[in-house]
């Protein structure tokens, strides 16, 4: 009993330590990854472009739901002109970065873990080491960088599409005044205070999600079961990290 508790503690700290050492190795290879921009582009394609469809579709639906729900509540107070403010602030501050990051973890993070885990189990990483190519620099660094770059862009697309989703429902279907929708939004949303803070949030989420994903892949037990577990851990851990960090970042920023 006591022994298993001790083993659990040692494992937890070992995991934490390995992930930090891993991170420092990878970061030391980031400048090299910038120079090999073809690799970076290929990774941007697989984490960014391939996530685009799910981000745009969910952004539009989230915006439409916000439009509907916001209208129902706001019209009780006769304040349905504030729908634009409600939709845009919700998206730009919270839902854009957070939901986009959760989708990113499910769509791109799990794929990264599985890919690197499979590379490990088929001994491709070991083969690279044999050829004196550092897999952390060559394989992992461009993926981490691509994740950090893609996440803010995806979150911005999510928010922008969501605002138009809210506009579609609010102005198009429910008859909120077009001019009031945009003008109230513009006077209430501050670029530095709201939009930039949302982008900073999504940068942090992109970093954390990709870090967890590539580390879990690299740290996976190289069996089919181990890769499956690692993929699950990526999605669970990065979702928890996103929500926890979101609270801390919101408390600091707003």
């Amino acid at each position: 009993m006591i022994r298993s508790l001790g083993r659990m503690g040692i494992n937890a700290f070992g995991w934490l330590g390995r992930s930090w050492i891993f991170l420092f190795y990878v970061i030391s290879g980031i400048f090299g990854a910038l120079k090999r921009w073809r690799d970076l582009f290929a990774q941007l394609y697989s984490v960014g472009v391939l996530s685009l469809v799910i981000i745009i579709v969910s952004g539009f639906f989230v915006g439409m739901v916000l439009g509907l729900q916001g209208y129902n509540t706001l019209s009780d107070f006769g304040a349905d002109e504030s729908l634009g403010v409600f939709v845009s602030l919700t998206l730009v501050r919270e839902l854009g970065p957070v939901v986009a990051a959760l989708l990113f973890a499910g769509r791109a993070g799990s794929a990264l873990t599985a890919e690197i885990g499979l590379m490990k189990s088929t001994e491709q990483l070991a083969a690279m080491e044999m050829m004196a190519v550092d897999p952390l620099h060559r394989v992992v660094a461009p993926r981490l960088l691509a994740g950090i770059l893609a996440m803010p862009l995806l979150a911005a697309i999510f928010s922008a599409v969501g605002v138009y989703g809210g506009y579609f429902v609010g102005v198009g279907l429910l008859g909120v005044d077009d001019g009031a929708f945009w003008s109230q939004m513009q006077s209430a949303v501050d670029f530095n205070g709201d939009v930039m803070n949302g982008i900073i949030k999504s940068l942090v989420f992109g970093f954390v999600v990709t870090w967890i994903a590539v580390f879990e892949g690299y740290d996976a037990v190289p069996t089919s079961e181990g890769i499956g577990r690692a993929t699950t851990r990526t999605v669970v851990n990065s979702s928890l990290a996103i929500l926890g960090l979101d609270f801390i970042l919101t408390a600091i920023m707003f």
């Binding site: 073809r38 582009f41 290929a42 941007l44 394609y45 960014g48 472009v49 685009l52 107070f77 304040a79 845009s88 730009v92 893609a150 803010p152 862009l153 995806l154 911005a156 697309i157 928010s159 922008a160 599409v161 605002v163 945009w182 939004m185 513009q186 006077s187 949303v189 501050d190 670029f191 709201d194 939009v195 982008i199």
Partner: protein
């Protein structure tokens, strides 16, 4: 692996789309092209009570946004609230004897300062002060006034 030219093109489209989204958020959603609070000129108005006025509250003339409240402090010599207003340099011709009132936009809306132009020949410059001000209407005071009037009216009958 997909052909690298196709990858580069789609990644280019992705990045362009992302930057366009940030641009939409900047210009359409948050209206960044509005004047920067730093490059206007500052005038001061003292109020007995500023009600719910906040930093960044709008300042309007004839309903047009001409500036924003840039700072609010309390003067413990005169026991008045001091509102510092930054005016867009486009609107440089505000007569010196203009008056400042605090109004509420709508029944539950935000409070803003409305400047009413006076008739003086000279215009307010940086650091100038608006002498004639009217405080925010505090709902409790109005209700109290009405009840007081009603009560005193009943006495006379």
């Amino acid at each position: 692996m997909i052909h690298s030219k196709a990858v580069e093109t789609t990644v280019g489209v992705f990045i362009a789309l992302g930057l366009a989204a940030i641009l939409v958020l900047a210009l359409k959603v948050s209206n960044m092209n509005m004047f920067d609070a730093d490059d206007g000129y500052t005038i001061i108005a003292n109020f007995d009570n500023i009600g719910g006025l906040k930093v960044r509250s709008p300042v309007k003339m004839s309903g047009v946004l001409v500036g924003r409240v840039s700072d609010i402090s309390y003067d413990d010599e005169t026991y008045e609230a001091v509102a510092e207003i930054t005016i867009d340099p486009k609107y440089a011709k505000i007569p010196e004897d203009s008056t400042a009132n605090i109004y509420t936009a709508g029944l539950l809306g935000e409070q803003y300062i409305s400047l009413d132009a006076g008739g003086a020949e000279d215009y307010l410059a940086d650091g100038g002060q608006i002498e004639i001000t009217q405080s925010a209407v505090v709902l409790e005071q109005v209700i109290g006034q009405v009840m007081f009037d009603k009560a005193s009216g009943d006495d006379e009958e």
